[in-house]
């Protein structure tokens, strides 16, 4: 489903975040992306969603070279990907349900159907009783779960999660990991970046380790 071929990414300013990465991820796989801070985990995920473009090499998703997508094609790629950001990226002037509705509104869903799906997604992450709250009123773990609800509400085949359990205590982290396990069971392809060793042990997926922008080891 995802193929990296000799991909390098150099940011403007000369810093090389990824160097000569070749990597394949199959449909339905669960992949953990690990590595020290600054190893290039976020950069790798951004390349998949065409948020960044490779300096050299090719990233293909479902056979599409996403580094070469036109400006008009990028939104349609992203609609098929559920993105969970390291820094949440919630809209703090919209309620929980409005945040969850956003991807459906963007995709042009029928309004009533959209509400039904948004409620189902919020229910799945245990936030249905908070649908009218503003995100500012949510705890860190609840905000993270709202991110997950927004990422999965349009039922994407691929979910990219950047540190979804970062700075959460163990109880919350396990909750969230269990949600990912459910998505994995229904066939969603998941790429999750994390420092969290416990997570990896508990879930037992494939592990891809980055070290200073290069592929260090696979387990």
């Amino acid at each position: 489903m995802i193929q990296f071929s000799q991909v390098s990414k150099r940011y403007p300013g000369g810093h090389t975040a990824l160097e000569n990465i070749t990597l394949g991820i199959e449909k339905g796989e669960l992949v953990f992306l690990t590595g020290h801070s600054g190893a290039g985990k976020s950069t790798l995920l951004k390349l998949i969603a065409a948020i960044e473009r490779p300096t050299s090499g090719a990233v293909t998703v479902n056979g599409q070279n996403v580094g070469r997508l036109s400006r008009h094609a990028v939104p349609f790629l992203r609609r098929n990907i559920g993105l969970i950001f390291q820094d949440h990226k919630l809209l703090f002037d919209r309620s929980v349900i409005e945040n969850t509705l956003l991807p459906l509104s963007i995709a042009g869903f029928d309004r009533r159907e959209a509400f039904k799906r948004a409620r189902a997604a919020l229910d799945k992450v245990g936030l249905l009783n908070r649908e009218k709250s503003m995100p500012i009123a949510l705890s860190g773990g609840e905000q993270q779960r709202l991110c997950i609800a927004r990422a999965v509400v349009s039922r994407p085949a691929l979910v990219l999660a950047d540190e979804p359990t970062g700075n959460l205590d163990t109880g919350y982290a396990i909750d969230i990991l269990n949600m990912f396990r459910d998505f994995h069971r229904v066939g969603t392809t998941l790429v999750i970046s994390t420092h969290d060793e416990r997570a990896i042990q508990a879930m037992g997926g494939r592990v891809v380790q980055l070290d200073h922008g290069t592929l260090a080891a696979e387990a």
């Binding site: 939104p75 992203r78 990226k89 956003l102 509104s105 963007i106 029928d110």
Partner: protein, 299 residues
């Protein structure tokens, strides 16, 4: 409800809500746009009112036709028949040379006329026309000059021509001003929208990250722009109504002094609708430019 339609409605409602939430800045922008619209539209009103005034004044152009002293009675009769049958001539009056002389005497010039050996004045026809257009006047003048027995024809059209020329300049000015202030309106609208974009930058970025097209992101801003233009147009119409109210009294007083029933004519309904439409469109365009530029810049 269809999602696309729902987003249009939501965008419109969102734009309206944002406008109402910041009544002062929205009000000032509307005022700035309103003033930019008031100038060309006010000028248009001034010109059209002047045109109306000119049309209503009892100064229909006259033509004086002087007969040659040696014109034969047959020629004189032919001329009279021609003038009576001519479709462009409203009224005709024969002024004999004697009558003309008497008029001069009556005007206090008898000292001069008394010294004359014989009456130097020709017989004449004074004609008023159905049409006041300068061209019509000119064609008729040429036609009559060519008749046998006619010495000369004087068309008293200079006044009408001058007024038409001035009104022509006025109309041209209205056009130029409209273009200029249209540009100003686009700039004002675009600037106001830029402020909106900065406030909502995060929302734009997040929407893009989760698959929003440029068109989707632009939509609420375009509605905001359109609403802003419409409120500016309403402000302009309000300003013009107040100006009209303030001028109505003095103008009718002046008109009464000249014995004219002239009253100021306000903007017609279609013209008002056109102003509203144009302002909405221009402000929408300003919004479009601002958002499109911002989207390019965000990458």
């Amino acid at each position: 409800m269809n999602g696309w339609l729902a987003h249009h409605l939501a965008s419109f409602a969102d734009a309206l809500r944002r406008m109402l939430r910041t009544p002062f800045s929205a009000g000032f922008t509307a005022l700035a746009i309103g003033v930019a619209i008031t100038l060309p539209v006010g000028m248009y009103l001034a010109v059209s009112n002047l045109g109306q005034l000119a049309g209503g004044l009892p100064t229909q152009p006259e033509i004086s036709l002087f007969l040659a002293g040696k014109a034969s009675p047959a020629e004189r009769e032919a001329i009279q028949r021609k003038l009576e049958a001519h479709p462009d001539i409203e009224q005709r009056r024969f002024v004999s040379s004697e009558a003309a002389l008497e008029r001069l005497n009556a005007q206090g010039l008898s000292d001069i006329t008394a010294g004359l050996e014989r009456n130097p004045l020709p017989d004449a026809w004074v004609l008023t026309l159905k049409q006041s257009a300068p061209q019509a006047l000119d064609t008729l003048r040429k036609e009559l000059s060519a008749l046998p027995g006619v010495e000369s024809v004087h068309a008293d059209s200079i006044w009408a021509e001058r007024l038409q020329a001035i009104l022509g300049i006025g109309r041209m000015l209205v056009l130029l001003l409209s273009g200029l202030f249209g540009l100003a309106l686009i700039a004002i609208a675009s600037n106001a929208i830029r402020a909106q974009i900065l406030v909502r930058r995060e929302e734009i970025e997040v929407s893009r990250l989760i698959g929003a097209t440029d068109r989707y992101i632009r939509r609420p801003f375009l509605y905001y722009g359109a609403l802003q233009g419409a409120s500016g147009a309403l402000a302009a119409l309000g300003i013009l109504a107040l100006l009209g109210l303030a001028l109505q009294g003095p103008v009718s007083q002046l008109a009464t002094l000249y014995g004219s029933p002239f009253r100021l004519t306000p903007l017609s309904l279609p013209a008002g609708a056109a102003v509203l439409g144009a302002a909405t469109l221009f402000s929408w365009l300003g919004a479009w430019i601002a958002v499109t530029r911002a989207l390019r810049k965000f990458g």
